[in-house]
């Protein structure tokens, strides 16, 4: 065996034995295959569509939709375009997803912590909850909440009446809607002022704590400011706010804000279902923080609450975030089950009625899928950034 120094790169082998060439070759083949496959697909689709007389293009988005949608966050009526139905569906999807994410996270954390509670009964109940809920298909749960539970609420005439301002019946939950009058600008001003004041107090309190060590009750004072300043400005401005109360008109309640049962059922089912997964994630996150950490914290004299807040949770978050992200993604995707109970989400409205009325399946489905892809990439991105921020620095 010999080794020699020669100041050149080792002589190149025959191309087909050079791993670099090989890898380039494989990749070229792969790319060719993908393009070929894609081209075949597109070609087939186009020729099929043509031979079957299906119109193509996105022109349909400007045509009049002509159908009603029960819930719209952006202004909508039947005279508007199909393009508008897309926005209605999308905002409805985003609404129920956002509500679901918030509720599922809160509930999931509570149940996850309850699962570790020293209270035997509470821990067992949390366990039962988790094991029951996550082992039953979500679609079934949505049906259950919608058809079996919410439908058993009273009819509009027998509504549950809360002080003549809120009503609950099988058509939904009716809440008074604030109607701003002239001069409400002052109240807005008050609200902004209050927010600024709270931020100010926080900064000041932190400074004071740095300087003197006294801990200022920022939270309580903040809440007080947030409540009183707007209330006072409201009174000063001469109560420029009317409440539109829901009232029984004909068949139904009119006026006010309505939370329709479809939304409620979907929201409840999504939140409960996802919460059962989040609870497990939270539990394993907390358990992943070694016992030594809690002991060290106790040895430093930190009480249980602070130990949880300052030592355990920050470390658990690192373990919790990645699976939590995928639960959020699942929740958004699962919100498409809305279509089964008639909540007008993107899939029900746009990939449902609009697709059916226009017949332009390829375009509509492509748009829908692109939307979900975007949402999920955005969530991943956001969570990745957060995750990097809480990652633990190692050598």
């Amino acid at each position: 065996m010999k080794k020699q120094t020669i100041d050149t790169r080792p002589a190149g082998p025959k191309p087909w034995y050079d791993p670099r060439v090989r890898s380039l070759f494989f990749q070229a083949i792969a790319i060719a295959l993908v393009f070929w496959g894609g081209w075949v697909l597109v070609d087939n689709t186009l020729s099929n569509m043509q031979s079957r007389g299906i119109s193509t293009g996105f022109g349909f988005l400007n045509e009049t939709a002509g159908f009603g949608i029960i819930m719209n966050l952006v202004p909508y009526d039947a005279t508007m375009s199909y393009g508008r139905t897309f926005w209605v569906g999308l905002t409805n999807t985003l609404l129920v997803s956002a509500m679901g994410v918030v509720a599922a996270t809160i509930l999931g954390f509570i149940i996850g912590v309850a699962r570790l509670s020293s209270n035997w009964l509470v821990a067992k109940m949390a366990l039962v909850y988790i094991e029951v809920i996550r082992n039953i298909p979500l679609l079934l749960q949505i049906f259950f909440w919608y058809f079996a539970v919410l439908s058993n609420l009273p009819s509009p005439r027998q509504s549950v009446d809360v002080g003549g301002a809120m009503f609950l019946n099988n058509r939904g939950l009716y809440l008074p809607e604030p109607m701003t009058q002239e001069g409400f600008g002052i109240v807005w001003g008050g609200i902004l002022l209050a927010i600024a004041a709270v931020v100010g107090v926080r900064v000041w309190a932190k400074k004071r704590q740095l300087a003197t060590g006294q801990i200022f009750p920022t939270f309580k004072v903040g809440v007080a400011i947030l409540v009183f300043v707007p209330v006072i400005s409201y009174l000063v401005a001469g109560r420029p706010l009317d409440w539109e109360l829901p009232a029984l008109r004909g068949f139904n309640f009119g006026g006010g804000i309505t939370i329709i049962p479809e939304l409620a059922a979907l929201w409840i089912a999504l939140s409960l279902y996802t919460a059962s997964f989040i609870a497990e994630i939270v539990r394993s996150g907390i358990l992943s923080v070694s016992k030594g950490q809690t002991e060290a914290s106790k040895a430093l004299g930190l009480p249980n609450g602070l130990t949880l807040r300052l030592v355990v949770i920050p470390q658990a978050m690192r373990v919790i975030i990645p699976p939590l992200t995928s639960q959020y993604l699942n929740l958004v995707k699962n919100s498409s089950l809305a279509t089964a109970i008639g909540y007008p989400d993107l899939v029900a409205v746009f990939m449902g009625t609009t697709l059916n009325q226009t017949g332009q399946a390829v375009e509509v489905v492509a748009i829908t899928m692109a939307v979900y892809l975007t949402i999920s990439l955005l969530i991943s991105l956001f969570m990745n950034i957060y995750n990097r921020a809480v990652a633990i620095k190692e050598r």
Binding site: N119, L139, L373
Partner: protein, 361 residues
Amino acid sequence: MTESTMKAPKKALRPVKWMRENLFSGWFNTVLTLGVAYMLVTSVGPLLNWFFLDANFVGADASDCTGAGACWLFISQRLNFFIYGFYPDELQWRVDAMFLLLAIAFVPQFIERFPGRKWLGLFGIFGLPVVGYFLIPGGSFGLEQVQSSKWGGLMLTLILAYIGIVASLPIGILLALGRRSEMPIIRGICVVFIEVWRAVPLITVLFMASVMLPLFLPEGVNFEKLARALIGITLWQSAYMAEVIRGGLQAIPRGQYEAADALGLGYWRKTGLVILPQALKMVIPGIVNTFISLFKDTTLVLIIGLFDILGTVQSTVTDPAWQNVAIEGYVFVAFCFWVFCFGISRYSQNLERKLDTGHKT
């Protein structure tokens, strides 16, 4: 220093002490306990009544459901439909045979030390689909053919989940390997494939598979609706599977790759003989969990008009012959799913625990 045999104190007062420590330690816990207990007491009674005491179990049709509770005879009367769908009565032995084989293959997995359970499991994964392929649709070996449109109920649910998982495994492996490949383009293709499939809801996938697929294929090429649903489910599932397997691949220490290289094993042998066996074993719990979620997700085929178990139940609760049996129907389906999923998830937890300790030796 001498009483070395002193017993732990206060042993006699155990229950009281246990309650004090576990239920009533501090006012907060006491309030919680009382609250939860109150909820339990007020809900368990009526539920018990509805489920058992006031329920009707025997009879022939709706008119025998007289009690205030659940009408279980609805379930027992329609059970055949819920399990086999439209599968012809006289041929149902074929489905039963599959159920039996399934049980033979997988029940022993729960029993430690069952001889040859590994082989039974492998038969379950690779052999069973082959047997099923000939047995269920028939059409060969002198078996009468049964169109897939006649399949339904629990049987269809199981077929969907089963084939979905078995078929997505190899695709998932390839995707996972591709995603860890050193070739940027291969990696890119796999990443895009995985992320796209993972981002879209299953019902859009099913919708596409069920009604749009023929549009993408050359004229004349066509499969059955069920086959198309399966293709959709499999592709969608394989993206999830790929991520699970990638987790296993990442957990294999670099030394294993290097040792295999040093032994002169090439890429495929290194992967097949050294890396994959370890990685797959490590992610069995993950695979089982994926299976559970797929199993639950198969209910969505109801939306594209396949009669899975939830579909059969939904179509019968609107049958005019039976009134107000929706809750019973849903509870029944929920129970079926729960038994399966809970059982399997327990199994996977067991496995996880075992693999956990296995690692430390």
